[in-house]
Symmetry: C2
Subunit: 96 residues, 2 copies
Amino acid sequence: MKALKSLGTQIYAMRYQLKIEVSLKPGHSDPEGETTARLLNELGYKVETVNVSKVYSIFLEAESRKEAEMKAEEMCKRLLANPTKDNYSFVIEEEK
Amino acid sequence: MKALKSLGTQIYAMRYQLKIEVSLKPGHSDPEGETTARLLNELGYKVETVNVSKVYSIFLEAESRKEAEMKAEEMCKRLLANPTKDNYSFVIEEEK
């Protein structure tokens, strides 16, 4: 009886893959991008701007897609992106 | 007549946006990913692995989509990716 009750109230967590891209806001200097552009031009490629951004691939447990989205948003604000200089965007996939 | 001839042989370059993602091959240690995973867990998120990769957004002039693809492949091999430890993939969009 106890076992059944605990089964009944257990919440099954799903596993989601987040891909969070953090890039510099326009107007902020991107030394790595500038160096890459210069080197590519020196190698003979007709390259204009190069912007470098970072992608975090994260496996996260959450109860629903909605919760995973909320957590991704929070993670960006609390740790991954700097609000004064970074933009962020993310996609979420449910793990099979 | 000369002008017409030069017009006839001129090749118009197109502008393409490349998005090249460079990530570590599986099995290589990713200290930035490990630190991010630890910090996210300390903040209360049930996160497993975190992998960090880099995205280069490049505006490139090329004569055709085929040429842009060939150049993107070359850029990865010659500069952007280290064949012993990196995987790479890219998408190409024609600029409007």
